[in-house]
Symmetry: C2
Subunit: 321 residues, 2 copies
Amino acid sequence: MADPRFDILGIGNAIVDVLARTDDAFLDKHGMRKGAMTLIDATDAERIYAAMPPAQEASGGSAANTCAVAAMLGARVAYLGKIADDQLGRVFAHDIRAGGVAFDAAPLQNGAPTARCLILVTPDGQRTMNTFLGACVALGEQDVDAALVADAAVTYLEGYLFDPPAAQAAFRKAAAAARGAGRKVALSLSDPFCVNRHRAAFRALVRDDVDILFANEAEIAALYEAEFDAAAEAARADVAIAALTRSEAGSVIVAGAETAVVPAAPTAVVDTTGAGDAYAAGFLAAWARGEALAACGALGSRAAAVTIARMGARPDPAALA
Amino acid sequence: MADPRFDILGIGNAIVDVLARTDDAFLDKHGMRKGAMTLIDATDAERIYAAMPPAQEASGGSAANTCAVAAMLGARVAYLGKIADDQLGRVFAHDIRAGGVAFDAAPLQNGAPTARCLILVTPDGQRTMNTFLGACVALGEQDVDAALVADAAVTYLEGYLFDPPAAQAAFRKAAAAARGAGRKVALSLSDPFCVNRHRAAFRALVRDDVDILFANEAEIAALYEAEFDAAAEAARADVAIAALTRSEAGSVIVAGAETAVVPAAPTAVVDTTGAGDAYAAGFLAAWARGEALAACGALGSRAAAVTIARMGARPDPAALA
């Protein structure tokens, strides 16, 4: 098997984040679940945006964040996701390419606009996300280039991809192409509510197709409908590696007979947006270099810490250097 | 004369900022003058953007920044500027309205896109700006609502408005409307290179139409082609109030027989983008409440300090409270 051209190929919803600080009362008033990602339609997107304070825009998307951070850490990375041919789509494409990630997907013409995620950051640093999927609903099987998948050591899929209906087929095609080429498949569960929406499909996918699983406590509990220790053991039986994050308690990595407990890196919490994405980036960047599980987790912890120390989902590259 | 509905009406180029951190070598490579604002065309905008690192977007524009900060400080504020009917135009309109600034200008249809300013922030906190004026070149006399001008205690004009040709007429119409209604006219010189481009027009305008002048050391020196003390005396002869900023040395305010020397507020410098705009906001917000010149300067210093302590041209409202 030839050496792959990329360490990581990320596939996900290509989204521009619209970030603003609010108080908890804003979340209550708009019926939002703090810390969750909720899907909204174009009408809700207009309504919530109109009520939001002044904001800043930055490229986001869970797997795209992971790709951007992994590239900062020196990994060779490519990304697949669907933008529209509009100003926000050009912002997304610029930012991911400028970060050194290969991104060649054709933008959607004459369809929905580029996806955006309205993110409210409360004083405790928690982020509450409202996603208008826009052009992402057009991502499908036809967008998955099997040769590109075969050319990446691991294909990393975000769980959020299960929300736009056509993307599930893209997801399965990518997983099959990776396995067919002898490559690995990684999955992030993304969000406990996303797991609840698609539990059966996730359970089957994790068992049959996933080599490396990323989840936080709420997500792994939602997947196996069990408390943490039992869920971790279930993951140990299902996948080769499960990296389970526990916020300020760090992470637990289970892999066959091995268990590694990794502390979080200390930091002030400004905005937790992108913390899990950055952890996966650090983990996979170290994994691609063949490092031991504890070292993979440690780089994940450091990337997450640098990310949550400032506003937005992607850290300052200088802070990671 | 009836009480005006607004304390401040700002008129300026409506711009979305695209901010990224770079090193000094990036500026050298692209032939940029550090700290200056340079006008670029659509082709240069594409070229520079393609070379820029990943960025974040936030609403900007000099007078618009001043309006946003003045509103945070409790002033009643309106704004006039030209956006296009596109995604970045909607971002601009959302942010200024969400900050409590009245903004009712009709977006440009079927013309150039919303203006953007590519801002490179170097490790010393200096910002170097490259502005593609886009829809701003369509701002003209027809956009100035004389009744709105008459309904603001002071109309605040940014010097950058002298760059798009039609805006000079808008500028003069607004100044005439303000004077005709017994209101005040304030002007920020914006940038020494902008002053050099339009010195004769600025000199005439300052002498004939301006009540409150804002400038930094380089700008006032460029206007009068004199060193600071002589330039300050020239300004004293030309305008009722001149507020002259000197970076970390604070500001000097000259007004008739009066001179106030105001220290800068201490802060760490993260990004100087918007410092002068915020100073003008603090000054005018206090002036509108009838405060003494030293108090106006002190609020200007505080607003500037809070602005330069973080990335971007507009401060966190919570930090100003």
